[in-house]
Amino acid sequence: MSKPKVAFYWCASCGGCEEAVVDLNEVVLDVVDAVDIVFWPVAMDFKVSDVEALADGELAAAFINGAIRNSEQQEVVELLRRKAGAVVAFGACAWLGGIPGLANLSSRESILEFVYQGSPSTPDGDGTRPQEETDVREGRLRLPHFDETVRTLDQVLDVDYYLPGCPPPVNLIAQAVMALVEGKLPEKGSVLAPDVALCAECPRAETKPQDLKVERFFRPYEIVAEPDTCLLAQGLVCLGPATRSGCNAVCIAANMPCTGCMGPTSRVIDHGAKALSAISSLMQTEEKDEIAALAEQIVDPVGTFYRYSLPASLLHRRAQEEPVGAATSGGDGS
């Protein structure tokens, strides 16, 4: 019997998820033994036409990382959706929007304006912006349309499974691939990671005080954290209480607070709101002015609490003078 075929694809992402696949090290040999990789643009020479040539559903799985920001990404993931039995949103960006999702704090127009005109390193010019269509002697050239808003993968198409993390931990990737090969996948829509908060598996959990109260919040550069004591108890904004475990607490081991890349547990709708709730209730004081001053110590609350999940959040993006409607792609652009 031929091996199951799988595809990897990247959208609005940094390439770290691809690194994570390579980081499987010798386990990658087991993976390659078990499956045929038929599409992986970052690592192997395949074309979109190779995917188009497959029968619908012929792929056992498509692992898609990155958020969706332009028409090219949407086109390829929709193609992969048709060809794949299972679509796995791979990593924080595909699941929740990730770091690229923070672009939802800015309008499309302000992004284009800054990148092609306003940025200090952009030479003064005539303000030319890339056109979606350009006629040259050889024919018409096309560039993808830059969408109004960053979307998660499941805001574009039906997703079967989610692998959390920035990037997903190697052991979770290996487990997911093996479960797929052996046909032992859980219920559709599952997040392929433990469903408890990070504090539950934190090596410093024993030093977390029963009644934890914070007198001052610190940013990581402001103090040298004690290596064996709960980071929250030291005033660092650690999102461990509100974030899913499964990462082996690698950031904590490096003495850095959790920033929430594993996303929320299944009981939570809006990761940032829950993280905000958890952190704010730790404030020591009961005085309004002092509470307000403590809140001010959390610089950039959106970037702190929604670092990986703004497009998946209840508000989805910053309110704008002119709302961008149903956040669809398309339109003629500029």
């Binding site: 499941d154 997703v159 709101a273 709730s277 309004k288 956040a327």
Partner: protein, 160 residues
């Protein structure tokens, strides 16, 4: 068809022991106030999860009012302090999300202060009316992500 004047929609989370009782008192006393406020009774202002506030805004509220017992009076000792802590940080977050400060308000209203319910509801309605409707972008959801039942109840379905 002529354009309807804007009527703000305000979702109010009132605690069972003080503010909701005060709203009852206002009703019994036949005090009139803006009908724009939709009151939701919770056991405590400390039960107001920031998710509730965001879900209200997302699903069409132009303002959110939270009412709890005065400091020191909480039926559960300190729930209202937690409400205050969340409120102060949530306010900063909403500012960065482009939502005006006046759209979220926290008030301590005791069971005896029916007149304060009247005043606060009227004031907030006028403030939000002056701001105009809250316009948010709603993303299409292909499929709500595998919701446990309680999750679906909490947010409801998204309409676009």
């Amino acid at each position: 068809m002529s354009e309807q004047p804007f009527e703000p929609r305000i979702v109010a989370f009132f605690c069972n022991w003080c503010t909701y009782t005060a709203a009852d008192l206002a009703g019994i006393s036949r005090m009139q106030y803006a009908p724009n406020v939709r009151a939701i009774r919770l056991m405590c202002s400390g039960r107001v999860d920031p998710q509730f506030v965001l879900a209200a805004f997302r699903d069409g509220a132009d303002g959110v009012l939270i009412g709890g017992c005065h400091p020191g009076d909480c039926h559960y000792q300190e729930g209202n302090y937690n409400a205050l802590r969340r409120f102060e940080l949530l306010k900063l977050l909403l500012h960065d999300m482009g939502i005006e400060e006046e759209r979220l308000r926290l008030e301590w209203i005791s069971a005896a202060e029916g007149d304060k319910v009247q005043r606060v509801c009227n004031e907030m309605t006028e403030q939000v009316r002056a701001l105009g409707p809250l316009r948010l972008t709603t993303p299409p959801r292909v499929r709500p992500a595998a919701p446990p039942p309680e999750r679906a109840e909490l947010v409801g379905q998204v309409t676009s």
